[in-house]
């Protein structure tokens, strides 16, 4: 079924409740507009191959739409240990779409940095982590504050492979992410952290699905957002432990810091457990800044703005505390710090 044949998902569907498809589609929903390519460039020696897209066998409207725009797919196979790979994804013009396919056969650290000033940009990333391989993946969204952004990701983590996945979302006016990971072999694991700084009137909707298909698999998801102005953040997570995936361990924590009276945040963690012997946990909290934290910092000489800024900075950085790769953590921290310092100067 192609995009034109698909029904518009109703808002009763969990995924589309807060950012319905018509709000993230770039034009009229019946249309498949002409899209420019997102320009991918690499810092270093690695290179992409450009391949035609696979056939549309998606049952999801967002992926099917991105496929229908027809842009080419960039593919990278990482088979030996290397220095961190930095991929710059540059979007411009009215509508831009990019497809990226990663295949990791060893140990790798990959960063994708998306920037530019398009009206609308869509990105579909697929990744396969081969048995016993390890990928540390950082995604940094620094799009212009007027851009709309649709991002879909599909990851498969094979037996004894590990994926560390970090997102820093600070750009774009309206963002919708749908990230899905399948733990496809015994011992597969994912640690995922998402940090969102929602300022002004930003709308950021981050959806994560993790499926434990086999036993002895591990997932850990942390999502922290700081919401100021009249921004709206939505974090939804669905962890599924399928039948027979015993001894799996799944956890997810959502924390939202509300910095203004008009800011809104939704945190909806869901667990679907069909196996008997598992460990599964989830938690969510939304609250303003703790006044005892403010008082403590002010009692050490920081004025209220400095104290708030330090608490927000720490809160957002803390989302990366479930990661283990030092290079990944350092890069994400640095990007966040630079972003917050720039924001302070504005």
């Amino acid at each position: 079924m192609n995009y034109q044949q698909m029904a518009i998902p109703p808002r009763s569907e969990h995924l589309w409740r807060y950012t319905p498809w018509p709000r993230i589609h770039p034009s009229s929903i019946d249309e498949v507009p002409i899209a420019a390519d997102v320009i991918f460039s690499l810092e270093g020696r690695e290179s992409f191959e450009t391949i035609p897209q696979a056939a549309d066998n998606f049952d999801d409207i967002a992926r099917s739409f991105l496929h229908a725009t027809g842009s080419s797919c960039h593919r990278m196979v990482i088979s030996g240990q290397s220095d961190p790979i930095h991929i710059n994804a540059r979007a411009s013009g009215h509508i831009a779409v990019g497809h990226l396919e990663l295949e990791v056969k060893d140990s790798a650290v990959v960063f994708i940095h998306i920037s530019g000033e398009p009206e609308w940009v869509g990105l579909h990333i697929t990744g396969k982590i081969h048995p016993n391989a390890h990928l540390s993946f950082g995604f940094i969204n620094e799009l212009d504050s007027n851009s709309k952004f649709l991002r879909c990701e599909d990851w498969t983590v094979e037996r004894d492979a590990e994926l560390e996945h970090a997102t820093l979302s600070v750009g774009g006016f309206r963002c919708k992410s749908d990230m899905r990971t399948t733990l496809n072999g015994t011992g597969a694991s994912i640690r995922q952290s998402i940090t969102v700084n929602a300022i002004g009137a930003r709308h950021d909707d981050e959806h994560v699905e993790i499926q434990h298909l086999h036993g002895h698999t591990y997932s850990n998801l942390v999502m922290n957002s700081a919401c100021g102005g009249s921004s709206h953040f939505i974090g939804t997570g669905l962890l599924t432990i399928t039948e027979g995936a015993d001894k799996s361990d799944a956890s997810q924590v959502f924390r939202n810091l509300l910095l203004s009276e008009k800011a809104r945040a939704e945190a909806i963690p869901e667990l679907e457990v069909l196996a008997d012997d598992v460990s599964a946990a989830h938690g969510a909290a939304s609250a303003p800044i703790d006044r005892n934290q403010m008082h403590y910092l002010m009692s050490r000489g920081l004025n209220p703005q400095e104290a708030q800024s330090m608490i927000v900075h720490g809160f957002l950085l803390n989302a990366f505390s479930n990661l283990t790769n030092k290079c990944l953590i350092e890069e994400m921290r640095t990007r966040l710090t630079v972003h917050l310092e720039c924001e302070l100067r504005r």
Partner: protein, 247 residues
């Protein structure tokens, strides 16, 4: 006569409509160490918090002066910049904020001139060595996952770096083993030489190591007895019931 650092006159304080302090009077001069002892709920911590300007406490009557100036119009951070310091009984954890970053920012805020990198590192290393603190402390998050003793050491480390004119120490001895207590007491004694110091404690053991010039017994929101170090020994020996009778 040494400079008057803190003057509290007929202080009445309430929290959420409940009166906690009911007429406290106290004067502390530079170089003096005062200790306040009393039962749980007597108002000791309230006194320290209200002097530091915690927003939950409302002054309903009376005044506080710091170096001759009324405190009511000074915000919390202005009090800190003026040289006031509170070592918290339960210091707040700030996840994601590294101790090193926090200390540098705090010292830069309180001192007139921000410290230079190398000089600050030297000063910090010396203070940490004095308190037998490992350098790994600096990369941990402020009070996040700290033991009771680690929190108290961090409070004293801050005091050593900030060199306050007035140090309010709210149960700094609780949660410390005897070795840690000695180390912390050494730090307090160093700062106390040239500042005014108010120690809130339940126990005599800290006062064996930090000799107070004055000891005050507080009951039900007022100071009911003032004496020298011998009063602390008497309270330790006899408890607080005899004060009920005396009052």
């Amino acid at each position: 006569m040494a400079e008057e650092i803190l003057r509290i006159e007929n202080l009445h304080v309430s929290v959420e409509g409940t009166a906690i302090l009911k007429g406290v009077n106290l004067i502390i001069h530079r170089g003096e160490i005062h200790a306040i002892m009393g039962r749980n709920g007597a108002g000791k911590s309230t006194l320290a918090n209200v002097v530091m300007g915690h927003p939950a406490y409302v002054i309903t009557e009376g005044r506080i002066f710091y170096q001759g100036q009324p405190l009511e119009n000074l915000a919390v951070f202005e009090r800190a910049r003026a040289g006031m310091f509170l070592s918290f009984q339960y210091p707040a954890a700030i996840p994601g904020v590294q101790v090193g970053t926090f200390l540098k920012k705090s010292v830069a805020s309180v001192r007139d001139e921000p410290p230079k990198g190398r000089e600050f590192r030297k000063e910090l290393t010396a203070a940490m060595e004095q308190l037998a603190m490992d350098k790994s402390f600096l990369s941990r998050y402020v009070n996040d996952g700290f033991s009771g003793g680690e929190k108290k050491r961090l409070e004293i480390l801050q005091m050593l770096l900030l060199q306050p004119n007035l140090a309010l120490l709210d149960e700094t001895d609780s949660g410390l083993d005897i070795d840690a207590l000695r180390i912390v007491a050494k730090g307090i004694n160093e700062v106390a030489v040239d500042s005014a110091c108010l120690i809130i404690t339940h126990y005599q053991r800290l006062l064996d190591l930090v000799k107070p010039h004055f000891v005050h017994a507080m009951m039900d929101g007022v100071i009911v007895q003032t004496g020298g170090p011998e009063l602390a020994l008497e309270l330790e020996d006899r408890g607080y019931d005899w004060l009920d009778m005396a009052v």
